[in-house]
């Protein structure tokens, strides 16, 4: 990501870089205000190390709640037709929403 490699001087003269935090929410249907059923966090600042199984409670009740807290939606899964003959197959979680937050960190 180009944005993650930016470095500049802050007002106080401290060299700053922009890093990306990513939040992935899996919702109960394709609506952004549907309840969260699964989630993941990836931290480009390196300040935290989220990992599988680290929390049992969703960070946001819905996708809209994440928007209200300042996360920016940048990708949502498509709603795809069902393949003939495989209408009842289940596999990966369907309603995936990627959010980002840009964070200034010291260079």
């Amino acid at each position: 990501m180009i944005v993650a490699n930016l470095a500049r001087q802050s007002g106080t003269g401290t060299r700053q870089m922009t890093r990306q935090k990513v939040l992935v929410l899996y919702l109960a249907n394709s609506a952004l205000d549907a309840p969260t059923v699964a989630w993941a966090v990836y931290d480009g600042t390196g300040e935290t190390r989220p990992m599988a199984g680290d929390t049992d409670t969703p960070p946001y009740r819905t996708g809209v709640d994440a928007l209200k807290d300042g996360w920016r939606l940048f990708q949502a899964s498509q709603i795809l037709p069902h393949q003939r003959g495989a209408e009842f197959d289940v596999s990966y979680l369907k309603y995936e929403f990627f959010f980002e937050r840009l964070v200034e960190v010291a260079a």
Binding site: V37, A52, G53, P58, K94
Partner: protein, 308 residues
């Protein structure tokens, strides 16, 4: 016929719906102690030794036999060894028979050891990505994995994480590793001698060990070599007299196979949660040998071709 204590219809329905059965503290302590002694001591962390080297030494020296895939389970372990004694416990043998039938086949086993932070000098101590074992498995038939916990496991030790009800999802191993946390996930916190029977499709992963001692879990995968149909305690299976009222119901329905099969998991999506119900009914049809079974009208409605 067998004299073993077979699983009840309720236990089988729960396994069908959720993909696991848990038996806490059922392996006697003398077998647990024997197992840990057979596995040998785990060397203390050394500054000049990597975690991979320590694990490699442990696996090489542990008293786990190398067994060819496809061996009869009954011949996989020497008589009198701890694992064989565990497998011969009536509760264990009865559960195995109920789930994969008589004479199951050994697939593979592994000694899973998770190391505390002291062993990770210079490396990163993280949990295992959530995954489904093996590879894409489109069968209705299924394998069973027994997770054996020979010592007490605390939450801090990062016991096996698994997500009930994921076993009917057709996925490709760790392709789902992106999902860090899923509503309803469970972490094994248990006393010594606990067994977790998993349908081979259940999503799971090892937790990070933040305690001061290693955590040991022994896994055995087995395949059916004969029919899996009607192997549980059929005397506990109540005949289904009629379909239940659905959607518009005025009181909590009584406990039944249907009630177990139709109970959703917290992570279910609103639409595919219904597909999960359909697939649970199909698995129950397979296990009971009853191609006409239905719960809450899901398959009756879909199979009505209106051609009569």
């Amino acid at each position: 016929m067998t004299d073993l204590p077979l699983l009840t219809a309720s236990q089988m329905a729960s396994f069908t719906a959720r993909g696991f059965l848990r038996f806490d503290g059922v392996v006697p302590q003398d077998i647990n102690t024997q197992f840990l002694a057979e596995m040998g001591d785990i060397a203390s962390p050394q500054p000049d030794s990597t975690l991979r080297q320590a694990y490699g030494r442990l696996l090489a020296e542990a008293g786990v036999p190398e067994v060819a895939a496809g061996t009869a389970l009954a011949r996989a372990y020497p008589q009198g060894c701890a694992v064989n004694r565990m497998l011969e416990l009536p509760l264990v043998a009865g559960a195995i028979c109920s789930l994969v039938g008589e004479a199951p086949t050994f697939d593979h086993h592994f000694l899973h050891v998770t190391f505390p932070p002291a062993y990770h000098a210079g490396g990163e101590s993280v949990s295992q990505h959530t995954h489904q074992d093996s590879t894409i498995d489109p069968r209705t038939a299924f394998d069973v994995q027994i997770m054996y916990y020979p010592h007490a496991v605390t939450r801090e030790m990062g016991g096996t994480r698994f997500i009930p009800g994921t076993h009917l999802r057709k996925v490709s191993e760790v392709a789902l590793g992106r999902y860090q946390n899923i509503c309803g996930q469970q972490h094994m916190v248990c006393e010594a001698g606990t067994l977790l029977f998993l349908h081979s499709g259940v999503w799971h992963g090892g937790g990070v060990n933040l305690a001061e001692r290693t955590r040991t879990m022994f896994k055995i995968r087995m395949n059916p070599s004969q029919s899996q149909v009607r192997k549980f305690d059929l005397s506990t299976l109540q005949p289904q007299s009629a379909q239940r009222p659905i959607f518009y119901v005025k009181s909590q329905p009584p406990e039944s196979v249907e009630e177990i099969l139709m109970t959703p998991e917290p992570w279910f999506e609103q639409d595919t949660g219904r597909l999960e119900m359909v697939n649970r009914i199909k698995l129950w049809r397979y296990l009971t040998g009853d191609p006409t079974y239905d719960a809450d009208y899901w398959l009756t409605r879909l199979e009505n071709q209106a051609s009569a």
